[in-house]
Amino acid sequence: MDTLPLTLLDALSLAMLLFLLSAGLSITFGLMRVLNMAHASFYLLGGYIGLAVWSRTANFGLALLAAAASMALGGGLLYGVFLARFSKEDEMPQVLLTFGMLLIAAEAAMIVWGGNVMRLPPPALLQGPAELGAVTYPRYRLFVIAAGLAMAVALSLLIGRTRLGAMVRAGVDDTETAQTIGLNMPRLFLLVFGLGSLVAGLAGALGAPYLGVYPGLDFDVLLLAFAVIIVGGAGSVEGAFVASLLVALADTLTKTYVPALSYFSIYVPMALILAFRPRGLLGRAA
């Protein structure tokens, strides 16, 4: 059987997780210029919390909800308590502070959940394969693709069509002016940061059934998310979406056809973008 359709589906399901992971990062980075290294910890902890809730309740939906809600809270706390004090130009302190948080979160997770790869079983309804014409593909991954697409549409509408989104876009383009015309930027920042963390936590739990959750996962996904931001450009949901597709495609294709080079897959799209369009495909922030 031809492996290409399967590879493309694999790329698509990875792309959806990548998108959920990096959409929040792209917005917070574009809006506030906060480069939050601990964003990857939200993904990791989202996975672990999803697992913990599932193992007690055996309820997959509840596991997703708990992962999302707890990470929204964690993100709000991280921003409100630690990050709100820094100005936009303080990228070095922010990065180092959040890197410290990443180290702490990773070690804490290691202490609580140990060093093995853990997997969250998908709900019974989504287990097993599905027939898609000539292709047989795991049902759960199709669910992830559908969920990712739905979230992409929802986030795109939220940013592009709602009042909140208009405020966010104004903040991305020019924070000072937005502030001057009376928008409450600190509150908006807190809200957006919490939302981005929520989606990252959700992505962690959604990915747990097939990528697993393990120590070091946080840094693995962080690098991919950074590649997405560089390629897609900061501050744009659509940019993050397109870039997630490209990065996931490059990653999956190299892993399938040239596994020796799988660690280098992200550098080709990254270098090309930087050579020809340094702001990223759809980057808003200058």
Partner: protein, 333 residues
């Protein structure tokens, strides 16, 4: 004697006497402090003077270390040539990465340097036939300088070799940042647009600084390889890069001596945490948080603001009220 001279004399005396006051194991930690201070010094040229926060500096350290180690172990090249090649290749990798990374500034620059550094890790990790992958390269001998009576296997003798190299790099750095080149870098940091309109080729200045910083990291890597006797792919990962940036911030970005101050505090703390608890990342992580919240302007910057101004610092004496306000009590470190 002026204060800077007195401080330098005191520092030198301390650096010369300290290794005789502690056991050999701690002498190796002192050497480590100097090695990381060299890495952070190069990074300070970027992050502190040129306004380019890099989070991939360790990649050049690893490049220097691997190059020297491979040349010595596989080709039996002499120490001087192997060390020089390590530094040059680190600078050459810097020249390539600089082309890519300098397409961006600020936080995006930081993101790109991190990603690029990870590619050096990937090379070291996957090219098993050359680098032995995750096992790393071991049994790297220390340089033997025949004309010296002390063998470098002795921790103190090697410490003094590292110290001499460090002092040379420090002196070069002090000259560099006061030169027209260094002043132009600081101008670019403060306002790149203006420097460009003044006719400076700002890109070339930043690119040169990037390569010099990579060279400093290369020196640190070569000396670290001899110090430890081994090199592993982890040397190019984000952890040492972030540690170096923390040293710069903690000591005081844009100060000549700041990175050494940062390294002298962070390295021993990290080493002790490693010795006493299995969960040392918790200690290290907390250290990041405490340093960033506690000393946002760096220790050297803080000291400068606190010490009473002298006539040699016109900016402070012109506005005594500011000096008073700065010395007001209630400042938390």
């Amino acid at each position: 004697m002026t204060r800077p001279l007195a401080a330098a004399a005191a520092g030198l005396t301390l650096a010369a006497l300290l290794p005789f006051a502690v056991p050999a194991y701690f002498v190796d930690i002192l050497s480590r402090v100097l090695v990381f201070a060299m890495l952070a010094m190069g990074l300070n040229l970027l992050a502190g003077y040129a306004g380019l926060p890099s989070l991939g500096q360790a990649a050049f350290m690893a490049t220097g270390a691997y190059t020297a180690a491979l040349l010595i172990r596989k080709l039996e090249v002499g120490f001087a040539a192997a060390s020089l090649a390590g530094v040059l290749l680190a600078a050459a990798v810097g020249a390539v990465f600089g082309l890519i990374a300098l397409r961006a500034r600020g936080a995006t620059f930081l993101l790109i340097t991190l990603a690029l550094a990870q590619s050096v890790w990937a090379v070291a990790f996957t090219w098993r036939s050359l680098t032995r992958g995750d096992d790393g390269l071991g049994s790297i001998p220390r340089p033997e300088l025949g004309w010296l009576p002390w063998p470098m296997a002795d921790a103190r003798a090697y410490y003094f070799l590292v110290l001499i190299v460090f002092l040379a790099l420090l002196a070069a750095f002090a000259v560099l940042v006061r030169s027209p080149f260094g002043l132009a870098l600081q101008g670019i940091r403060d306002n790149e647009q203006r420097m460009r309109s003044l006719g400076y080729n700002t890109w070339l200045y930043l690119y040169t600084a990037f390569i010099i910083a990579a060279g400093y990291a290369g020196v640190a890597g070569v000396l670290r390889a001899y110090l430890v006797g081994a090199v592993v792919p982890g040397w190019s990962q984000v952890d040492p890069s972030a540690e170096a940036l923390l040293m710069v911030i903690m000591g005081g970005p844009g100060t000549v001596i700041g990175p050494l101050v940062g390294a002298a505090i962070i390295e021993p703390v990290a080493e002790m945490a490693n010795l006493f608890t299995r969960h040392w990342p918790l200690v290290l992580g907390a250290l990041y948080v405490v340093v960033i919240l506690g000393a946002p302007e760096g220790i050297v910057g803080w000291l400068r603001r606190r010490l009473p101004a002298r006539a040699s610092r016109p900016a402070a004496s012109e506005r005594p009220s500011e000096g008073l306000a700065a010395a007001a009590p209630g400042e938390a470190i």
